[in-house]
Amino acid sequence: MDLFSNLALGLSTALQFNNLLFCLAGVIIGTAIGVLPGIGPIPTVALLLPFTFGLEPTSAFILLAGIFYGAQYGGSTTAILVNVPGETSATVTCLDGYQMARQGRAGPALAIAAISSFYAGTIATIVMCLLSLPLSALALKFTAVEYFSLLVLGLLAAVVLAHGSVMKALSMVLLGLLLGLVGIDVSSGAPRMTFGIADLSDGLDFVPVAMGMFGLGEIMANLERSDERRVVSQKIRDLIPSWTDLKAAFPAMTRGTAIGCILGVLPGGGAALPPFTAYAIEKKVARDASQFGKGDIRGVAGPEAANNAGAQTSFIPLLTLGIPANALMALMIGALMMHGIQPGPQIMTEQPQLVWGVIASMWTGNLMLLVINLPLIGIWVSMLKVPYRLMFPAIALLCCVGTYAIANSVFNIWLMLGSAVIGYFFIKVGAEPAPLLLGLVLGPQLEENFRRAMLLSDGDFAVFVQRPISAVLLGVAALLILLLMSPTVFRKRKEALAE
């Protein structure tokens, strides 16, 4: 059986003392940078790359991979505690995680995030051992046409993120797409809406926009509320999730893991699609979806599991095909080359120890994350006891330093400030920012793939329905629209009758 020999080889590598040590170092560094908003795994990996020259390639890779998924995990902490998403994926965790914290349930939220991540990590490790090859074949089935349809579906699903009006959510997606256009156009090199500002030529950084709209916008709105309606109740109800919580969260974790495993393999989507999709699905399958956005534990468990599973399976195209699925994987390729390993499709046969060692280390790493983080929950939660009059200046400061730190860029601070004001306006008019952020992240890829698909098909729009995978995805999207529209229609009728 391949699975067992692969796993055995992987575990024997990952369990070597020095590799355990590097894995531990990786996940600790990763958690730390994940908790601090702004500094993400990419800069950290780039920073540590030269220091890994002296290591065995396998150890180096285990360390760097640990940073990556450690950071994915750490980001959820800040999102839950103070509503500041430091990463694309954490935006979703903000929705229900922060609401749980406001209800005094920060402990269970953090614990569920850790448990979901571990659970997803364990399953994803097994999936990687069993299904790496079929999954990489699936990744190759996705050409521009399929990817465009997937992105359309993802963006439509994003309207589920908001609990208000469907039309408003769709508007927000469009506004996000607009923001995503800013910068130099990949296909033609033309600057768009950069207004001659050099800082805009690379497009808008996600982090300042997200921190402005979520973190700072929330503070402004909070300060307007009367004391008793305000934020984090200082009475912490419980630290660990109850049995009911676990029972509610478990199916969500499982679904999230499955979604993450599949979407993580696809190029580009990487960090954004899995958690957003998982959230949308949880909200759709739930018998009682009324609590989503108000502190539903499934809204934390599903996306967190999807996020972690996706982070792991995004290694598959790199390890099996030698093709990076995202910017971080491109960096990993660089790391391999510097170690004299030629990345490419032959890597799995020529470097089995590296490939399976890294895969197995993801499981040991996730176990370490769980063991390290569960005891930390008490400390994190106790930070919420700080009175809000001190808490809000600290959060404002954290946003500023984090934004400034990512690129040492003052421009990003002004960008965050602008986003905060617009975010505040959105709160005032009852529009929620999460769909906008997804639009911002996916917009550039949507355009790129759309234009490429049209170029390849000589401008024939029919390709999107002729290709089977694409047709199915668009069909689901159409169905989703119908589903979304119908309740509004019904509600309208009810309102009309009430009048």
Partner: protein, 324 residues
């Protein structure tokens, strides 16, 4: 999310480098930056990261690599063009693509010849022409026959508008009177992936990145650029043997600095580079990448650069490629 890393990397390198920096530097008064105008992980980036520690030891000042990707490398080049004219800001990039920039991008914010000064050509690595196995094309002849039978159908992937691996197939197709469809991707890895997946059909790309896919059967190699066949792929004919006129197509990695920098510093950099590139470990890495070291005096690089701007500029002009 690429820019952030860079500053951080800069920071760390500064921090570590300061510890090791000694006061003995006479020529270089402060930290030297090597700007790589692409995301980390590419050929230029790896080269820069290999060279940086050696250069640091040689000049006695911290040498840091800063990735500044965007706009086919023009963003990073622009930053170097506008840096202080003190020879402390270097640019390591695909100079073939840079030579195309003035022809492709009329709105370029700097002058590639007047604002940048060559330090030395570092290496040359040939292109491999490879096609998707699904295309059922086994030789250059098949490719030409297919293109003639299906004008405008053959989709050739490139890693960005106006790059060397975009203009190379344009030049070849024009010379042979073939109609190809040029499809831009975001970088070489994405373009390679697209051909492996069969979304596009052919690609001209660096030998290092492409040959493993050929060896593995995920791509079919047809020919290589450069003056002679590759040692590790002797069955692939050269472009000339295959009947392609592609000039000196391939990856040319060169080191430049801000124009107007002190000539003695440029000379010193050139001399240090000569020593560094001769070191066995660096030479080995470059050979592993299928590359050959091409370091000559700055003037030689200058001449190559000026000639390339003219010859390749003409190709761009004749074919009507235009960035906006």
């Amino acid at each position: 999310m690429t820019r952030p890393m860079i500053r951080l990397a800069f920071a760390a390198a500064m921090a570590t480098a300061f510890l090791g920096a000694s006061a003995q530097a006479q020529n270089f008064s402060h930290a030297v930056r090597i700007v790589v105008p692409y995301a980390p992980g590419g050929t230029s980036d790896i080269l820069a990261r290999l060279i940086a520690p050696k250069l640091q030891a040689a000049v006695g000042q911290p040498v840091v690599v800063e990735n500044k990707p965007g706009a086919s490398g023009n963003l990073g080049a622009d930053a170097v063009a506008k840096a202080a004219k003190d020879g402390h800001t270097l640019l390591l990039l695909d100079v073939g693509t840079l030579a195309l920039a003035p022809s492709v991008f009329p709105g370029l914010t700097f002058n590639v010849e007047k604002d940048l000064a060559p330090v030395g050509m570092i290496m040359f690595a040939p292109y491999v022409l490879a096609v998707a196995p699904a295309a059922n094309i086994k030789s250059v002849k098949d490719l030409i026959d297919y293109s003639k039978a299906n004008p405008g159908k053959l989709a050739v992937a490139n890693s960005g508008i106006g790059g060397f691996n975009h203009v190379t197939p344009v030049r070849i197709s024009k010379a042979l009177g073939l109609q190809w469809k040029h499809v831009p991707y975001k970088g070489g890895a994405a373009a390679t992936r697209a051909v492996v997946a069969g979304e596009s059909m052919a690609i001209f790309n660096g030998a290092t990145a492409t040959l493993p896919f050929v060896t593995n059967g995920q791509l079919v190699g047809l020919a290589v650029s450069g003056p002679e066949r590759l040692k590790n792929a002797p069955n692939l004919p050269t472009f000339t043997e295959a009947g392609f006129d592609a000039g000196d197509a391939g990856t040319w990695q060169g080191l430049m600095t801000t124009a107007g920098s002190p000539p003695e510093l440029v000379a010193r950099l050139n001399a240090e580079m000569k020593k560094i590139l001769a070191e066995p470990d660096i030479a080995k890495k470059i050979a592993e990448q299928g590359g050959t070291v091409k370091l000559g005096p700055p003037e030689e690089f200058k001449k190559w650069f000026t000639d390339s701007i003219a010859t390749w500029g003409k190709v761009v002009k004749d074919s009507g490629i235009k960035g906006e």
